[in-house]
Amino acid sequence: MKKLLSGNEAVARGFYENGGRVAVAYPGTPSTEILENMVQYKEKINSQWSPNEKVALEVGIGSSFGGARTLVAMKHVGVNVAADPLLTVTYSGIKGGFVLVSADDPGMHSSQNEQDNRYYAKFAKMPLLEPSDSGEAKDFVGLALEISEKYDTPVLLRTTTRISHTKTVVELKEREEHDGLLGFEKNPSKYVMVPANARKRHPTVEERSIKLTELAETIDVNRVEMNKKEIGVITSGIAYQYVKEAFPEASVLKLGMSFPLPINKIRAFAEAVETLYVVEELEPFIEEMIKAEGIPVIGKEVIPRCGELNVEIVRRALSPEKEEPLTTEKVDEKSLPSRPPVLCPGCPHRGVFYTLNKLKAVVTGDIGCYTLGVQPPLSAMDSTIAMGASIGVNIGLEKALGIDFSRQSVAVIGDSTFMHSGVTGLMDAVYNKGSNTILILDNRITAMTGRQENPGTGYTLMGEETREVDLEALARAIGVEHVRKVDSYDLKALKDVIREEMDRPEVSVVITYNPCMLIRRKKFDIKKYRVNEDKCINCGICLKVGCPAVVKNEDETKSHIVESLCTGCSVCAQVCPKDAIELV
């Protein structure tokens, strides 16, 4: 049967068809839908969200040691978090087939950087597969599991946004069971990586790499499509599609398995064509290894390192003389207002940032929906680096600038992010006698990535009820004496409590609570607000809460609330100096 599947759906399907047993992840765009789609196979596959990528990978290691075919998925930066166990499990090796899916985000559609995770394959010494559409994404999961079991190694399957979030036509197959390896056998020399054992494993890893290189030379996913000889292109992943469209007549060496590199195959291809290019997105990963072998090739001299590629970029890079004229613009784009993403109407984060703006606080921020608090009119975030970093950065600023600075500053972190990697930062603050104020914006869900369950939600990925982490008790257990909970829709309480806790020369935690409006809307009747035009003086203060439901009327003489968007959170009504915003 044929079906249109996104790369993420295809990865899930591939895992199902190839006897997958355990799938683990922490959400992160563009990888999230892999596990969301795994749930439909719950009869056969045990799927779960872990609190962060390191734990996810470790759960995966255990599952593989138990002989189950295992898949672990994360976004590119997640692999940084999981890197510690990753770089040693490539020494110990695995038992049940183990595939790590890294979904990279060239162009940074929703990420803080555009690191090229193919380097992790080289760094950790593991084979690397790069699918170029959903069909390959599905097939490569099966291939990865096979290679993994045959060569006793984890395999990296690296996708990118345009693979993960593009639907292409895929042929579905039935599931095949692969349970032959199930069971744990004690084997400390393999599973216990103390120095004495690890020293013995390292040479094994090097031998494995030589065998994997032989595999890369012969495997059919590394294929030559011989055509005209003038141009030869070595390419992988989505870049293959751009090359085929821009230069249908070129000869192509498509690398489905791009680490270790099949250098002999590449050398033969280089000799068969006149000009050889490497077309790859982001870093010169393949190119550097080819150049190191002394094979002349053109790559990043003409192909950009930054951002995504596309057909036009590839075409212009390889044949600059044939530049087509750009189409003339009939509409002046600069005359159009920008439309960045914004906090949803009724988002419980809004009032917090409105308050921080009013308090003129220096806000060390974190990653989540609330990062949108950096934008005008809220404009209340001063740093964002990586998940969990808000607390450490806040501590560091205080260490550098002293307690007076700390009185003007707060760290802001979401519930999922706090449990992911903020808890350790909080311990640091208490242990090292800080006076930081930490706001945990608790909306009971991992909202940014599309509302996934987390340890505070009360539900698992597979839909079962479970215990909820009590953030207040957790903070107290760490040693925070001042833990306060505030209704995130109550602007006065927010202002008073945050001001008090900023002034306090001790660590305090303020938990602002209310569920994400997108999960709440389903459970509550929504009352709505409207503007009483007789009272409205058009001062524009309500617009400063930055709510999509609050606009001006047609002739811009009064504020206006778009009824279909209003969720009745009341934040705009609270800021109105004339009480002109009333319940409908």
């Binding site: 044929k2 249109l4 765009t29 563009p30 999230t32 839908e33 559609h109 929703s110 559409d133 946004t161 345009r162 979030h165 593009t166 639907k167 292409t168 036509v169 989505i238 599609q241 751009y242 085929k244 469209e245 596309n310 057909v311 036009e312 750009l326 189409t327 613009e329 009939k330 509409v331 784009e333 600069k334 005359s335 159009l336 207002p337 920008s338 439309r339 960045p340 993403p341 914004v342 906090l343 949803c344 929906c369 949108l372 005008p376 009119p377 940014m448 990535t449 599309g450 524009g540 617009l543 930055g546 709510c547 999509p548 609050v550 606009v551 001006k552």
Partner: protein, 194 residues
């Protein structure tokens, strides 16, 4: 010859751009085409500008439409139609819902929401610009949620996608009790394409 057709769907997060694209791509697959549909999830859901690239033909390589190559721009909002109009090819069509969504950014920046975006588009694209009162028609049919299917009727007619494939795709995607209403909306949209 392998001719690839391009439809660019644009609008604002929450308007149903991605669902419409889903229905169209499903119908095109049922027609026997190779189909690729590319979009970005994540940040763009939060009321931001959203787009979905849909390409089909005998064999499609790149999932992304190049500027100046779209056969149809299918827009759910007027300013978004303007923003993406550079993707339209010579001889292509813009099908746009008569909707204005004013972003909050206009109150704090220097750039205003254009006074009459429909007039600008009409001026620039003449007969290639179809302005559809989809929301009004959907209201007449008793449910504003049908608005997107009205637009789909117009677009699929211009793309010459068979009724059967479209109806099957709609049937597969919408809740069962709304199928009939949706099919009526589809018919109205088709008639608008003339």
């Amino acid at each position: 010859m392998n001719e690839v057709k391009n439809i660019l769907l644009v609008g604002v997060g929450g308007q149903g751009v991605l669902t419409a694209s889903e229905i169209l791509s499903e119908a095109l697959m049922l027609e026997g085409f190779d189909v690729k549909k590319a979009e970005v999830h994540g940040m763009s859901q939060r009321g931001g500008s959203v787009n979905s690239h849909l390409r089909y033909g005998q064999k499609v390589y790149s999932p992304l439409i190049e500027e100046g190559k779209a056969d149809i721009i299918f827009s759910f909002e007027l300013v978004e139609a303007m923003r993406f109009s550079k993707y339209l090819k010579e001889g292509g069509f813009i099908v746009c819902s008569n909707e204005k969504i004013v972003p909050n950014s206009v109150y704090f920046g220097t750039v205003k929401y254009p006074k009459d975006p429909a007039a600008v588009l009409k001026e620039a694209f003449g007969k290639s610009f179809y302005l559809i009162d989809a929301v009004k028609i959907a209201e007449e049919l008793g449910n504003i949620r049908f608005a997107n299917v009205v637009l789909l009727g117009t677009v699929s007619h211009l793309m010459k996608i068979s009724d059967k494939s479209m109806k099957d795709a709609i049937g597969n995607m919408v809740p069962e009790k709304t199928v009939e209403g949706n099919l009526k909306a589809f018919q109205r949209g088709k008639e608008l394409a003339g």
